[in-house]
């Protein structure tokens, strides 16, 4: 597969656009069609394309299993951390309005929803890439 110049060139062109589109879908979740789950899966699709075009070892050299697992945990921790932040601000768990009222910043509710969507996107992307690594990589540990 490595010697196929067509696949390598096309995916080298396509991968940045797929990733930009994935970020757009995640960030656009509060004001239009989109959201963390969809954007995360689109981002993971760019990793699949890279694995097809450049081989598993090349992609793993950029981000290995440990990094993917850390990203997955960071995504969930962002979400749950915002929930606990609401607890600190004398609200209920995940009650964003309490944070907005405590800090007094307008439109903070929507910004917190964007942060939560980003956390969802990171967690979904990392989980999908982890599954792809494990299924397509024949179980070997190469980092």
């Amino acid at each position: 597969m490595m010697e196929n110049v067509v696949i390598r060139t096309v995916s080298r062109l396509a991968v940045p656009f797929i990733q930009i589109f994935a970020l757009y879908v995640i960030v656009h979740g509060a004001s239009g069609a989109g959201g963390g789950f969809q954007g995360g899966v689109v981002f993971a699709a760019s990793f699949i394309l890279m694995i097809i075009a450049f081989g598993m070892a090349n992609v793993r050299r950029r981000i290995d299993n440990r990094g993917i697992m850390w990203l997955s945990v960071i995504g969930i921790a962002t979400y749950a951390g915002i929930g606990f932040l609401a607890l600190l601000m004398a609200g209920n768990f995940l009650e964003y309005a309490a944070i907005e009222a405590a800090l007094g910043i307008p439109h903070l509710h929507g910004i917190l929803i964007d942060l939560v969507e980003a956390g969802i996107g990171i967690a979904v992307m990392a989980s999908m890439v982890s599954i792809i690594y494990d299924i397509a990589g024949n179980g070997e540990e190469s980092s």
Binding site: G29, A30, S31, G32, A33, G34, G35, G36, F37, N65, R66, M69, S72, V73, G75, I76, Y79, A80, G83, F93, L94, Y96, A97, H107, H109, G110, I113, V116, E117, G119, I120, A123, V124, A126, S127, M128, S130, I131, D134, I135, G139, E140, E141
Partner: protein
């Protein structure tokens, strides 16, 4: 065996097409699915939350705890595949 399967498929298909008759028309404002809480959300999302997308408002704010559970489910799936298939390495 094939005739039995064909009969079963036809039977279920006829039942489904029979049920289509009772479905509300596409986009019908009087349909039961749009009657109860839909208008409440349409009216209260913008003053409550201040974002335009009603779906995201319900997903991330009204049902935030539910969505946290969904993310944890996906995370658990990734962890499970890693524990089952990954050999000789750490998580």
């Amino acid at each position: 065996m094939k005739t039995k399967a064909l009969i079963a498929v036809l039977f279920i298909g006829i039942i489904l097409f029979w049920a289509v008759e009772d479905m509300p028309a596409f986009g019908d404002p009087d349909a039961p699915a749009t009657q109860y809480t839909g208008q409440l959300y349409v009216d209260s999302v913008l003053p409550d939350i201040g974002i335009d997308n009603i779906v995201t408002a319900i997903l991330a704010s009204y049902r935030g705890f539910d969505t946290l559970g969904e993310v944890v489910v996906i995370f658990t799936a990734g962890i499970s595949v890693a524990m089952l298939l990954r050999r000789g390495g750490r998580l």
